[in-house]
């Protein structure tokens, strides 16, 4: 087999793309310079004048930016579509485009359905009115689908842990020296310093993030909300005490905290498990109080809802914190639903621990603001209990900023996970997560770029997508 080039048969598109990018850069530059230099156009267009071509340099450059952007986007789409059709014939880009086929299908379906039904979907639907939000959502969903399909072994070309001899540090597109029947013939993004496939490791790394980051953020939010609401609502001593604790954790340098929590010696003492027992109890408390506050006056319904929600949650809780051959081990084997292996629990706990004080502060601030509103006073006059007001009056009205912060915080959690991997903490050394891969790749960066750059750009684009998504959501929620 011949080595693959980057573009193969579709190399004729390269000059077009270069031209498009060059023109786009030039027009954006001209646009910025002109908009700084020239005064704003304040002339009022006479109504009924009909459509007129843009006049004046400002409008012309604006049009130029739009056209060159469309041209570049069209060329990139052409790369992907031709790549999908030609596969390896279109070089590495084509092969990757073809491997990602399930992701493209899922993305197209998701966007088509969302745009079709956006009127009926509230805040999520409004997201599709903002181009920034749409780009962000697209980037995020790209990595989410890549992670999920990667976990089902649909996208990866090789086993991310398998080392094939002769492929150590080989450049992208190197063919396998002795491929067996049914093997994929190339290392699409090259091999790393242990001769593993960089492309497959990057795809598997997406799953590591998609698996941990959103869930850890949800747990951090549960803890932050459960503690932040009473701190903001009651104030006084409880607020002083909880704020002191939160500031205490925030004053720790994050990396020192990670080193203190995640080393194998500390794991041996069972400390992360005890912390898990505390942190994972917050969702239980949250849901119990949430339901009880609502149905307190209807004991029959209250009991029904509490048992429906809490029994599975408690079972899940015990299964999570219970682990054989560790400090917390009381549940019989047959009742233990799942075991979390490979230090993931430790990583999870430390990320939740670091995130929850910030959430606490945000929720506390929002609660202090909202509790002065009239509808809270009305509820107080009605004689509602404090917890009902907190969870059913204050919390729903704080959801806008909380959802925006949730997106930002998933991005921050992704960065934290990368930091953990970068310092080789927690996850097993051969784990394909992006932080570990960047750390391994950086050591040879002066000679070989390909092992470190794909995970770096993957992490960058995911976090960027989450930031853009949060920005779009904020913009749209401001319009109300």
């Amino acid at each position: 087999m011949d080595p693959l080039s980057w573009t193969g048969q579709i190399a004729f598109l390269n000059p077009v793309l270069a031209l498009g990018l060059g023109l786009l850069g030039l027009s954006v530059l001209a646009w910025i310079v002109l908009s700084c230099l020239l005064p704003e156009n304040r002339a009022i267009t006479p109504s009924g004048a009909g459509l007129s071509l843009p006049t004046g340099p400002r409008e012309l450059t604006g049009l130029a930016v739009r056209l060159t952007f469309l041209l570049t986007a069209a060329v990139i789409a052409a790369y992907l579509i031709l790549g999908l059709v030609l596969g390896t014939g279109a070089g590495i880009i084509g092969a990757i485009a073809q491997r990602l086929l399930p992701v493209w299908i899922a993305l197209v379906l998701l966007f088509a359905l969302s745009v079709r039904f956006k009127q009926r979907m509230g805040m999520y639907g409004k997201l599709f009115d903002s181009p920034i939000g749409m780009i962000g959502f697209g980037l995020v969903m790209f990595w989410v689908f890549t992670g999920i399909f990667g976990a089902f072994d649909l996208i990866i070309t090789h086993d991310p842990l398998a080392q094939l001899s002769g492929l150590k540090n080989k450049v992208p597109g190197t063919p396998l020296p002795s491929p067996e029947e049914g093997d994929f013939q190339w290392y699409l993004l090259g091999g790393d310093n242990l001769a593993r496939d960089v492309f497959s490791r990057m795809v598997k790394g997406a799953w590591e993030v998609v698996k941990i980051a959103p869930l850890a953020t949800i747990f951090a939010f549960m803890a932050g909300i459960t503690l932040g609401l009473p701190a903001g609502y009651f104030g006084g001593r409880i607020d002083t005490f909880l704020s002191f604790l939160a500031n205490l954790i925030l004053a720790f340098p994050v990396i020192l905290l990670f080193y203190l929590l995640v080393t194998p010696e500390i794991v041996q003492t069972g400390l992360p498990q005890y912390m898990a027992a505390v942190l994972f109890a917050f969702p239980l408390i949250f849901f119990a109080v949430w339901i009880n506050a609502r149905f307190r006056t209807q004991p029959h319904q209250n009991r029904l809802w509490l048992s429906v929600v809490l029994i599975p949650l408690v079972w899940g809780y015990f299964s999570v914190i219970n682990q054989t051959e560790s400090k917390i081990n009381f549940l019989p084997q047959s009742l233990d639903l799942f075991n979390i292996t490979g230090g993931i629990l430790v990583v999870f706990v430390s990320v939740v621990f670091v995130n929850s004080p910030t959430v606490f502060r945000i929720v506390r601030g929002l609660t202090m603001d909202i509790k002065t509103r009239d509808y809270v006073a009305a509820a107080q006059t009605r004689g509602e209990r404090p917890w009902y007001i907190m969870l059913w009056e204050v919390l729903p009205n704080a959801r806008g900023p909380l959802i925006v912060d949730f997106c930002l915080r998933i991005g921050y959690t992704t960065i934290l996970l990368g930091t953990l991997g970068f310092f080789g903490l927690g996850l097993p050394p051969e784990s394909p997560d992006w932080g570990s891969t960047i750390n391994e790749g950086r050591k040879l960066l002066a000679i070989y770029l390909h092992p470190a750059l794909p995970p770096a750009f993957a992490l960058l684009s995911l976090v960027l997508g989450l930031n853009l998504l949060a920005d779009g959501l904020r913009e749209e929620s401001m319009k109300d």
Partner: protein, 350 residues
């Protein structure tokens, strides 16, 4: 104001005590001590040997007592053997007559920061040298980061929704989405590797410790500055747009004051209050960035000793590091609070 500072200082000291106690407990957990004994003695020690080593070196006492000794609130331990007296405040083994002359208390209150088991050196001297290196790095980071972030933020916030605003906001979102270990790797790949072939800078900053030049020092500084810049710029932009919608700006416009004068004389002063607190609160994050960048560029400063000390469970060095970082965090918080009150006449006068 005096009472406010006094109260904040009290809370600060309490926080520092709590934090160092937590670090102390975590580093003194049994498996950590066992690891320490084995790295200091030898790796094939039996359990009894480990125990006796720990007892001989004062690690066998209750944690609270050890913490008191480290703090200097309790007298240091001593142990009399046939050869003489050893103890916390005594270097090596000395005859009884000389040991009596040694100080009884030797914690950080007395200025004794202890001895590093990783570097075999005095903690105080290690910290001062490494902190100097990092201080130099931070200085240049601030010199690059703060002005550029403020300029970007002010330019973007001047005309909300304009082309300049859109493009600069996109740039600042991009930099906040790029953690140091990603931007550092990308910068090293572009500017130092032989594959790309630019080779404008050096990929390591090891030589920058003695002889910092533009070539070996710019990339680490840029890497830290980029990540912090976007956040400060966004906060400045938010504050600037808020000021620009204020009534006194509209009044100035209606009076016919030129746009430059409105920005420079009326808006800028009020718009820079919020960024000041943000910059101050950014210090703890810079500390994080320093650890990553010093590891990435092999620059032996404060972050580098943090990684070394934490990796080797060097108890006293780790405690000193946490004291320093906690003090940095809390002092910057205090300055930001005081500065906010001082800069904002609405709060200052009432």
């Amino acid at each position: 104001m005096g009472l406010f500072i006094l109260r904040r200082s009290g809370v600060m000291i309490l926080t520092a005590l709590c934090l160092t106690f937590i670090v102390f407990v975590l580093t003194n957990l049994e498996p950590n001590l066992e690891k320490l004994a084995k790295t200091q003695g030898n790796f094939r020690m039996s359990d009894e040997a480990v125990n006796s080593w720990l007892n001989n070196n004062g690690y066998g006492q209750p944690t609270v007592v050890k913490y008191g000794q480290w703090l200097g609130a309790l007298p240091g331990w001593t142990r009399t053997t046939e050869e003489g007296v050893t103890g916390r405040c005594i270097t090596g083994t000395q005859p009884e007559s000389e040991a009596d002359q040694a100080a009884r208390f030797c914690g950080i209150l007395q200025g004794g920061w202890g001895y590093s088991t990783r570097f075999k050196d005095d903690v105080a001297s290690i910290i001062s040298v490494r902190l100097g290196n990092t201080g130099y790095l931070m200085l240049w980071v601030l010199v690059i980061m703060v002005p550029s972030a403020l300029i970007i933020g002010v330019l973007a916030g001047m005309r909300e929704g304009s082309v300049t605003d859109r493009s600069l906001s996109t740039v600042s979102i991009l930099t906040t989405a790029t953690p140091e270990y990603v931007s550092g790797v990308i910068l090293i790949a572009i500017f130092t590797s032989s594959t790309v072939g630019l080779k404008w800078f050096k990929g390591t900053a090891t030589s920058a410790m003695e002889n910092p030049t533009f070539e070996n020092f710019f990339l680490p500084v840029l890497t830290i500055a980029l990540y912090g810049m976007g956040y400060i710029a966004r906060m400045t932009r938010a504050s600037m747009t808020e000021v620009m919608t204020a009534q006194y700006i509209r009044t100035a416009r209606l009076k016919g004051v030129s746009f430059h004068n409105i920005i420079l004389k009326h808006a800028l002063r009020n718009a820079l209050i919020a960024p000041f607190t943000v910059i101050m609160l950014q210090f703890p994050w810079l500390l994080n960035g320093v650890v990553i960048v010093e590891t990435l560029f092999n620059y032996k400063g404060f972050g580098w000793i943090l990684v070394e000390a934490a990796g080797n469970n060097d108890i006293e060095l780790l405690l000193a590091i946490s004291v320093v970082s906690v003090v940095v965090v809390l002092v910057t918080q205090l300055i930001s609070d005081i500065g906010y009150v001082y800069l904002n006449p609405r709060i200052r006068i009432s």
